[in-house]
């Protein structure tokens, strides 16, 4: 079921679209994110540098545009991966039930309790020395995607279970509908909104995971910018108070996530 977009959702979609377009056009709008203008260290905003320069004389606006690419394009990829894995694991567990469900639930719990932050540390340390920053950030997001399926899987399992126990499905089974048809015709379409909801919830989670990793010093390699990497400047709070344009990455991240949230429509998130 695809309902009409509300006014707020149209604005959100337009904003995200504009952001994505701007990041893709970064090469034309602001050619270099890595060039250091060493005579303009921590410069305030000007016509040449709309958001000023950072502590190494790099154009913050350019870095923000290129950083948007990293966060806005890779996070959905990671979210898609984690949702697909979650759908497979959680969906089958909820549908089949019984011993399989028990094994999967235990597996999910086991997975959730392992020290995955350590795995991220380890993968970073194991990467070949001359891995380009782009490759390393793609690998990081893919890894986040592979690690992020457990929580959504739990919710998808609960949702699937609920659907399987619902009246209409019970009735369909009683009428002798074949399992395959039952799954594809009656269950899958109603799982769709749950999966879509999980996808849209996961996107900001992965954007934020990258930000948290950057704040812990495990973020994207230089010179590639990312929202998370730029958020590290916020540790210097007195500088932020004096130079409020340093909040631009935080503002953009918050705006993007809010737009994503608004796009997650209630009626699409529940079975009908």
């Amino acid at each position: 079921m695809t309902a009409k977009l509300s006014g707020a959702q149209k604005i959100a979609l337009a904003a995200l679209g504009l952001l994505a377009l701007a990041s893709l056009a970064a090469g034309w709008i602001a050619p270099s994110y890595a060039e250091q203008f060493r005579e303009f260290i921590s410069a305030p905003p000007s016509a040449r540098f709309p958001l000023g320069t950072d502590e190494l004389g790099r154009d913050r606006f350019a870095r923000l545009l290129y950083g948007t690419r990293v966060s806005l394009l890779l996070a959905p990829a990671a979210a898609l991966l984690s949702t697909l894995i979650a759908a497979l694991v959680g969906g089958t567990a909820g549908y089949i039930g019984g011993w399989w469900e028990r094994i999967v639930t235990s597996g999910i719990d086991l997975f959730l309790s392992l020290p995955w932050l350590f795995l991220l540390l380890a993968v970073r340390a194991l990467m070949p020395l001359n891995t380009s920053p782009v490759t390393s950030v793609i690998l990081t997001f893919l890894l986040l995607g592979c690690l992020g399926w457990a929580s959504p899987a739990r919710i998808i399992r609960a949702g699937t279970r609920s659907l399987v126990d619902s009246d209409y499905l019970v009735q369909a089974r009683a009428c002798g509908v074949a399992p395959a048809r039952l799954f594809w015709r009656h269950l899958a379409p109603n799982l769709g909104p749950i999966l879509a909801a999980q996808f849209w919830i996961s996107v900001p989670v992965f954007i934020l995971s990258e930000a948290n990793l950057s704040l812990l010093g495990l973020g994207v390699s230089e010179p590639l910018p990312s929202w998370g990497g730029m958020l590290r400047e916020l540790e210097n709070y007195s500088a932020v108070l004096e130079n409020p344009w340093m909040l631009a990455p935080a503002g953009l991240l918050v705006a993007a996530v809010i737009c994503l949230q608004l796009l997650l429509r209630t009626e699409d998130a529940i079975p009908c």
Partner: protein, 285 residues
Amino acid sequence: MLRVLLRQIRKILITVILGGLLGATLVRMGPGFGVDEREVDSRLSAESQQAIRAERAAENNIALFYLRYLEGLGHGDLGVSRSLNRPVSELLKERLPLTLAALAYGVLGGISIGFLLALLTVAWQRRGTDVIPAVLSGLCLAVPAAVIALLFVWMGAGCRWAIALVVFPHVYRYSKNLLVAAFQSPHVIAAQARGLSSVRVLFAHVVLPAAPQLAALAGISVSLAFGASIPIEVVSDTPGIGQLAWRAALERDLPLLVNLTVLIALMTLIVNSVADLALASRRQA
């Protein structure tokens, strides 16, 4: 019910033991294991350097290490932290209360705020009523946990409520979806048509049937809360379990990491089991 309970306890025990072993293996096989920063101390002689490397030799055989660990666990001996040179049991005793308190604030606070907002949104079914909660939850969802912690630090406030701000958006979103779905189900429409009061409809026919699925959130909230506690405690320098876990990971402190893995697994499993039991009891009913 008793059989289900016993089965859950057995499941928890097996999963915890497996989790500890897997966690230990992960650390043992990871890069930098067995390395000591003293190896780059130019004051130390070659013999001392050799001795330092030999200190950790006992941890190289992970199966043996884990068996010894389980044996010690049976006697209440959790081993000694390499990085802090102190018994793990002492470290946990000191730090657990802090983190548990923060988690309690965080999970209970997050669930309460999230669920309350969802309830209000759904009960007051007007166009645009979900805008403010959506923006609030979006804001909290959008700000990384570490930045939330930074904000609390700047304000000179304790970080107990930081976890709640991380948890509540997830709870809000999921609860709202569930409650809206429940509201639109035929039996609720029928109840409303029969003239039942909106309060009775809301609690007896909307909230109650959705309760088991809401219980599933509890487990996720604990995992979320614990996941958030690491960056929050690291950024705010709170001497809790999260900071200890981060330190243990950075220093490849195997005894500490294994114990923390077992502890987190236990906590997560207990909470999830409670949720599963609730779901099972609903199915039975």
